[in-house]
């Protein structure tokens, strides 16, 4: 969507992996997209790194004049971007990552207004991202624990993929199981 708003050739979302101190290509849209997803690099390198560490948006023009950057970009995206605009994805107190929008052949440079617009968009993206990370974190915990955890994760995945009638039935089954597993307070109270 960022690409559509700015008429960019490509855009990417980098997520900050705190544990490894890296930025990870999380989502890429546009030219040269697919091979990039999952690629990692140290969190303070490159323009994305600048934006992550300083929490400040940035625009870089004339990228082709940097031979290093140009070659890397060409190899990974299939084209050499002329310019890029990058904003941090900030949610509450954390920097979740960086959103980059690459290149516009028609116009010279990204303007301040566009930086502001991308910033607003990034705010929304960061909220969504935070929710996504929370959900993923929860699922990861379930999957890691093995035993009931893994079974629950599989159950959840099945539930997500099931048609509505099956989901309703599964829901009822779950409620029944919940009653079975509820602590035996009622028996004590009745004494």
């Amino acid at each position: 969507m960022a690409r559509a708003i700015f008429g960019a050739r490509a855009s990417s979302v980098f997520l900050f992996d705190e544990e490894t101190d890296e930025l990870v290509f999380e989502a890429v849209a546009g030219e040269g997209a697919d091979e990039l997803v999952g690629r990692r690099f140290p969190s303070s390198t490159g323009v994305a790194g600048w934006v992550l560490v300083t929490r400040q948006p940035l625009v870089i023009d004339e990228l082709e004049s940097d031979p290093r950057f140009a070659r890397e970009a060409a190899e990974s995206t299939g084209f050499v971007p002329n310019g890029l605009m990058a904003v941090p994805l900030l949610h509450e107190e954390r920097a979740l990552g960086v959103l980059e929008v690459l290149d516009r052949p028609q116009q010279a440079a990204f303007t301040l207004e566009e930086m502001a617009l991308l910033g607003l968009f990034a705010n929304q993206a960061a909220i969504a991202l935070d929710l996504l990370q929370a959900a993923r974190g929860a699922r990861a915990v379930l999957e890691d624990e093995g035993g009931e955890g893994a079974a629950l994760a599989r159950f959840w995945a099945r539930l997500e993929d099931s048609p509505p009638e099956r989901r309703v039935a599964a829901q009822r089954l779950l409620e029944a199981v919940e009653t079975l597993l509820a602590p035996a307070r009622l028996e004590d109270d009745s004494l």
């Binding site: 600048w50 300083t54 929490r55 004339e62 004049s65 940097d66 301040l112």
Partner: protein, 280 residues
């Protein structure tokens, strides 16, 4: 205008909490202000010589053609919640600090640049390094500290605020990047800090006073030739680069009028802003 009087003895220069009737010498203003403050009066002929400017950032690549030599470089280390200060031999692994240093150098070629590394490789972004670095820099009594960064950690807001106020009263000017986005971040929001946003004009000495806070000034931040790692340059835009423009201008003014308090300096900036004094 107040005239310059002979410097009073040491006891008179301590902070005064009141002003007795016979202590007029205590409030003598050390600078003769002209009828109209012009840019010529403010910084005409100044190169920033004698000013010590601190770049609080990702480090600075010494010897970069746009930067030249540094007066010193330290890095803040955080271990188990404790910060320590070490000589920085690594320079700038990220490039951002070097870019900012280059801009200050371009405006105030005669100033001495110091680097305090609090960002970049190895820093977890916890905010402790930023606090530790800023505290050290304020204690060192730098004339101007450039902060092209911000933190969103609310737990550090109060401490940062205290540091910023302390700097203000010790005549260390903090210049910080304002945030383009509607985010609660610091230290640019503090009134004791000169906060800087960008305008889109090409002249490095064009700056505007903003009567709608919290951003106080707009300086050149679009299409700036910045120092790039490896000795080159590249064109970039952002408040990160508007900030060192104001830092450089502050260094120019303070080099010519070192007695100015931050309040007076801000007044000079106001009076010489393009939308106030017409850029003259």
């Amino acid at each position: 205008m107040a005239t310059q009087e002979p410097a009073p003895d040491a006891s008179e220069s301590l902070p005064a909490w009141s002003l007795p009737a016979d202590a007029g010498a205590r409030i003598s203003i050390g600078v003769d202000w002209p009828e109209r403050v012009t840019r010529e009066w403010a910084w005409g002929g100044s190169t920033g010589e004698g000013m010590r400017v601190c770049i609080l950032d990702s480090g600075v690549e010494p010897g970069h053609p746009k930067v030249g030599d540094l007066g010193g470089a330290i890095a803040v280390r955080v271990q188990d919640g404790e910060t320590s200060i070490d000589e920085d031999a690594e320079g700038d692994l990220c490039g951002h600090g070097t870019a900012c240093a280059g801009i200050v150098r371009s405006l105030a070629p005669g100033c001495t640049l110091h680097s305090v590394r609090v960002l970049g490789a190895g820093f977890k972004g916890s905010g402790l390094a930023l606090l530790g670095g800023l505290r050290w820099a304020v204690e060192q009594g730098f004339d101007v500290i450039n902060m092209s960064l911000s933190t969103t950690k609310r737990q550090f807001a109060e401490l940062l605020h205290e540091l910023a106020d302390s700097a203000y009263f010790r005549r260390t000017v903090l210049v910080a990047s304002a945030h383009n986005m509607p985010v609660e971040s610091y230290p640019w929001r503090f009134s004791s800090v000169i906060s800087v946003g960008s305008h889109e004009e090409p002249d490095p000495l064009t700056f505007y006073y903003n009567p709608n806070p919290p951003v106080e000034f707009f300086a050149r931040g679009v299409g700036v030739e910045i120092a790039w790692l490896g000795g080159g340059t590249i064109r970039s835009s952002g408040n990160s680069f508007a900030t060192p423009h104001m830092t450089g201008i502050c260094a120019l003014i303070l080099a010519k009028h070192p007695e100015l308090t931050p309040f007076q300096l801000k007044s000079v900036l106001y009076l010489t802003a393009n939308n106030v004094g017409g850029g003259t």
